[in-house]
């Protein structure tokens, strides 16, 4: 049995070993950083390129490393578009399908490690992870929107903000996701035409309306944000102090009172489906007759045979439902093929690719003119809200405000779920 002195001696040796290893790793890191800084200083300053310069450079680069996320149908969509991009430009697309959270965490870790050249060129993500990535200094701070020729087809309101988080042109919107009210035509003949009528409709049809937990599904928190605008006014929050608001001071007492009142007449009061798909399954099973839902989730379920299209209709109640999210692309600061990434972004905004959003997916294009050219039989499908994008554009366009939305999601747990 070792004595206390011997144990202490061994412990000291181990601690010394560990600290020396750590100190050595830190000094090695410093040496690497100094070397990279010297290399950067030696590089010539680059002047603003023309689009032709960018295309030429992109072909020279020959590769774009693209990180996407989403369901299986999104993965297929990205892979198909990437194959088309490769065929058109001869630039290889290395596609990685994962999730936005781990991709942004990887970028943060690489930034913390001091990397200046990385292995990610293009990231598809939405407002919150973009904001995280921007604040961590991992976004290439270049006004990409101002240089892409196809960007002029994108509504100008989306050039410099996403869910009212400023993007400075560094995030290029790619899709227009839309939530609508979905209802069962075999059970409902008179859905509420407006948000004003929703509560009365629920009272007349108790247990037949639901929305998913806003913390587990985007249809839930988009619905929540819509109610905030409906109740307190869109202009109260829209475009205000872009990126510098203080949502903590909002009480939203009327909103919580309304939601608690609504809950009494909802499906299984106190029970909120754990996500978009869970809510969709309840509607497909006929347990609920009306709910807010993403139109591409409806499309996916119809395509998979899990939802009967003959008993479904989608519409936008008055005054409207929040438009978006407008997920899109950004280029990390250390992307080794930035020009190829910009070329891909421009390709995504081309008429051909934007049309594919309508025919091969069920999301609105950013180029709204493309909708007019879409085949009539596609536009007549049940997953598009009545009137399609044309009708949507006649309504007020409410963009979600991410900071208020996230605060509301957090408060929803306290003010509604816990009550």
């Amino acid at each position: 049995m070792a004595s206390k002195r011997e144990i202490a001696l061994v412990a000291i040796i181990i601690i010394l070993l560990i600290t020396n290893i750590y100190a050595f790793s830190q000094s090695a890191k410093v040496a690497t950083l100094e070397k990279e800084l010297a290399e950067l200083k030696a590089k010539p300053i680059v002047t603003s390129p023309t689009w032709d310069d960018i295309v030429a450079k992109a072909k020279e680069e020959g590769t774009v490393i693209f990180y996407g996320y989403g369901d299986e149908f999104m993965k297929k969509f990205f892979l198909d578009r990437s194959a088309e991009f490769e065929a058109k430009y001869g630039i290889k697309v290395e596609y990685h399908h994962g999730d936005w959270f781990s991709t942004v965490e990887k970028l943060k870790a690489d930034k913390a490690a001091g990397k200046t050249v990385g292995d990610v060129d293009l990231v598809f993500l939405w407002s919150k992870p973009f904001a995280d990535a921007w604040e961590a200094g991992t976004v290439w701070q270049y006004d990409v929107m101002s240089i892409l020729p196809n960007a002029k087809t994108v509504p100008y309101e989306l050039w410099y903000q996403t869910d009212f988080f400023p993007t400075y042109g560094a995030m290029v919107p790619g899709v227009w996701w839309q939530v609508g009210f979905v209802y069962r035509t075999d059970k409902v003949t008179n859905p509420p035409k407006s948000l004003d009528e929703l509560l009365d409709w629920c009272k007349a049809n108790p247990g037949r309306f639901t929305y998913c937990d806003p913390n587990k599904g985007g249809s839930g928190h988009t619905f929540l944000m819509t109610l905030i605008y409906w109740m307190y006014g869109y202009d109260t929050y829209a475009w205000k102090d872009l990126g510098k608001v203080n949502p903590a001071k909002e009480n939203w007492t009327s909103l919580w009172n309304y939601l608690n009142e609504l809950e009494k007449y909802m499906y299984h009061p106190g029970e909120y489906p754990a996500g978009n798909m869970a809510a969709m399954e309840l509607l497909a099973a006929g347990e609920v007759w009306l709910e807010p839902q993403w139109m591409d989730i409806v499309w996916d379920q119809v395509k998979a045979g899990r939802l009967d299209p003959s008993v479904i209709k989608v519409y936008i109640p008055e005054p409207t439902i929040c438009a978006g999210g407008f997920d899109g692309f950004m280029i990390p600061w250390y992307a080794p093929h930035k020009e190829a990434a910009m070329l891909y972004m421009n390709f995504w905004l081309s008429e051909e690719t934007q049309m594919k959003l309508i025919t091969d997916w069920a999301v609105y294009p950013l180029n709204t003119e493309v909708w007019k050219k879409a085949p009539a039989d596609i536009k007549a499908q049940v997953w598009w809200p009545e009137g399609g994008l044309d009708a949507m554009l006649q309504r007020p366009l409410w963009f979600r405000h991410a900071l208020y939305m996230y605060d509301a999601m957090s408060k929803w747990t306290d003010e509604v779920a816990r009550k």
Partner: protein, 291 residues
């Protein structure tokens, strides 16, 4: 000189194990150490976030109306109920297989063990389909005319679905453990008890259970610790409120970017699990008459 050589021998022996200690230190101790340190706001994960000592996230955790204490309590009692049911059922299943002897017993035993091979997340989705309002259980009960409205078995405030799924996945574990313990008992004890006129229930109460109590305790503690901090089952089957603390950690970190708050919850989780396991072990040992 002889003493010095002996001491050097002992030190060199300890040094042989040093790489192993360093390895385990990095794999186990370092992550826990980092979690603990980061819960005070030091060495933050996010670049550009200053590293400064703060207790505010601990204060937020212990705020009277915060989500954290109720979530910790929910995680605790839900896990205790699951452990109790899984342990008892596991023991009964083990007793059944210990005593039963019929053709096809091995096949039946293998079927009972099948949950051991199902990942928790897969099991959670499976039970979601079975217990959902439009699922098999409600469909069956409706077809028998026993219910008009579907029962709330998932996303409910009591975690019924969580309990059912976790019990299903842990009964097999407990029964496997207990069967091994039962089979290691000296059969002469059973014969002697029978000779003295003891019935089966008396033998179970007076011989089997007391002698297999250490295995029962060990199995129960392992089940509890495993589900207390688990994520996938409570995330899929849990309701909007109350939630397991593991789900709250996920929402804090992934949805709200509140990393430090997540670390605080993790530290409290670890400390709670250690304390509860220690207290449980002491109590059970006292009940078993051990010092």
């Amino acid at each position: 000189m002889k003493k010095l050589l002996e001491k050097l021998k002992k030190i060199s022996l300890a040094l042989y194990f040093a790489p192993l200690f360093i390895f385990y230190g990095f794999i186990f101790a370092y992550p826990i150490f980092l979690t603990f340190v980061r819960s005070f706001g030091l060495f933050p994960v996010t670049p550009k976030t200053p590293s400064e000592f703060t207790l505010k996230y601990y204060f937020e955790f212990f705020q009277p109306n915060s989500v954290y204490i109720p979530s910790l309590w929910f995680s605790f009692w839900n896990s205790v109920v699951t452990t109790f049911i899984a342990a008892i059922f596991g023991y009964l299943v083990a007793l059944y297989f210990f005593k039963a002897n019929y053709p096809g017993k091995k096949t039946v035993s293998a079927l009972f063990k099948s949950p051991l091979f199902v990942p928790y997340l897969v099991g959670a989705f499976m039970w979601m389909e079975i217990l959902a309002a439009h699922g098999y259980v409600n469909g069956f009960l409706k077809s028998l005319g026993l219910i008009n409205q579907p029962l709330r078995l998932i996303w409910d405030p009591y975690g019924i679905g969580i309990i059912i799924a976790n019990v299903w996945m842990n009964v097999a574990f407990m029964s496997t453990l207990m069967l091994g313990a039962l089979e290691s008992l000296n059969p002469d004890l059973t014969y002697a008890a029978r000779n003295l006129g003891a019935g089966t229930w008396t033998i179970v109460r007076k011989i089997y259970f007391p002698l297999t109590l250490p295995a029962f305790l060990a199995g129960s503690i392992l089940i509890f610790v495993g589900i207390f901090g688990a994520f996938s089952v409570p995330f899929v089957l849990g309701g909007s409120w109350p939630k397991y603390l593991s789900v709250v950690i996920y929402e804090d970190v992934v949805e709200h970017g509140k990393w430090v708050q997540g670390y605080v919850s993790a530290v409290i989780y670890i400390i709670s699990a250690v304390i509860l396991t220690y207290v449980y072990t002491i109590l059970m040992r006292r009940m078993a008459g051990r010092k």
